[in-house]
């Protein structure tokens, strides 16, 4: 029978109906006797209901009848791309694919070689996108190759280090 640590991903799959029958039984057996996982399962189910209600509140008065007016307007006007395509096609009436592709490749390769020398400095090799912690956190950039995230933890019964 799986322990609590293994349950996290199984509970998601359980509420999503993505488990095999024997796995479902295993989860149900565990949840019966585990208060923590039982609570987590309830929270997942409640969260789904509330999210659906929140979206439904906005959709209930949706002006769906107006959808087709806007679509009809848009379809009557050719897109800029469609206009450009017809002009482009007219310019190149004797189009040779292989030659064009070969020249295109040469341009791309030249671009890739020159581009690094004429553009702004490369992006950092590490970027922190988000942090979650109950403890105070500090984030600072070491250099382009290093980033530091420091969280301050007071251990119970132990003195803090200076």
């Amino acid at each position: 029978m799986p322990g609590c640590n293994h349950m996290a991903s199984l509970l998601d799959k359980y509420v999503d109906g993505e488990l095999r029958p024997e796995e479902r039984v295993s989860v149900e057996e565990h949840v019966k006797g585990c208060h923590r996982c039982h609570r987590e399962l309830q929270e997942l189910t409640t969260l789904r209901s509330r999210l659906q209600e929140a979206v439904e509140e906005g959709v209930a008065d949706a002006p769906l009848a107006r959808i087709w007016e806007g679509v009809a307007d848009r379809l009557e006007t050719p897109t800029i791309m469609e206009q450009m395509w017809w002009e482009f096609k007219g310019l190149f009436s004797s189009f040779r694919p292989r030659t064009a592709l070969a020249w295109g490749t040469a341009i791309v390769i030249a671009f890739l070689v020159i581009f690094p020398f004429v553009t702004s400095p490369p992006t950092p090799r590490v970027v922190v996108e988000s942090v979650e912690s109950e403890h105070p956190v500090m984030i600072f950039q070491g250099d382009d190759e290093m980033m530091i995230v420091w969280f301050f933890v007071e251990e119970e019964g132990k003195e803090a280090m200076r």
């Binding site: 906005g58 848009r74 379809l75």
Partner: protein
């Protein structure tokens, strides 16, 4: 299959068949887009964009995936582009107040909770938000979500778990207050 027949008719150029084809999906697409942008007018405009794009690109639809996953894919990509262009997310700077336990009125509590849900979901990274909505509101399977998002199954599961975790941590006090 009626839907397949409608698709083929639209692909042959029969514009009239297009509305019949899309009508069953208009509420679903609107619902997904509303969850992504939380504004009725923006969601309406985006829905119109989705349908327009679907009409223009339906000749490229090869029936390799289901029609609705193809349609959802267009919707998600347009919603992600829309957010990138608009770059508006004022909710992210607003502090979330603790639940007011002195307000017993359940309608007010429900409105407050919906507002908190809206703010919390607005803080999720856009891809995580899309996956959460596709699963929780639209009811797509992991495999279908992977097809819509153009990513692997493992990515769907990890992003969904991350999104749910974030939502639970912020919203659990409100869910408990309600019970």
């Amino acid at each position: 299959m009626e839907e397949r027949d409608l698709i083929e008719r639209v692909q042959r150029g029969e514009k009239d068949a297009f509305q019949d084809l899309m009508t069953p999906y208009q509420r679903k697409i609107y619902s997904l887009l509303y969850g992504m942008v939380w504004d009725r007018e923006d969601a309406l405009e985006l829905t119109q964009e989705v349908f327009t794009k679907a009409y223009r690109s339906i000749r490229g639809f090869r029936m390799a995936s289901s029609f609705y996953t193809w349609l959802y894919r267009i919707a998600v990509n347009l919603a992600l582009d829309f957010r990138r262009q608009r770059m508006t997310n004022p909710e992210i700077h607003r502090a979330v107040d603790p639940p007011n336990k002195e307000r017993p009125d359940s309608t007010l509590l429900r409105k407050e909770l919906n507002e908190h849900i809206r703010m919390t979901i607005a803080q999720l990274p856009p891809q995580h938000r899309a996956i959460l909505l596709l699963r929780e509101v639209e009811g797509l399977s992991y495999k279908e979500i992977a097809q819509v998002m153009g990513c692997q199954l493992g990515t769907v599961m990890s992003r969904l778990h991350y999104a749910r975790d974030g939502m639970r941590r912020t919203l659990t006090p409100y869910l408990k207050g309600e019970d």
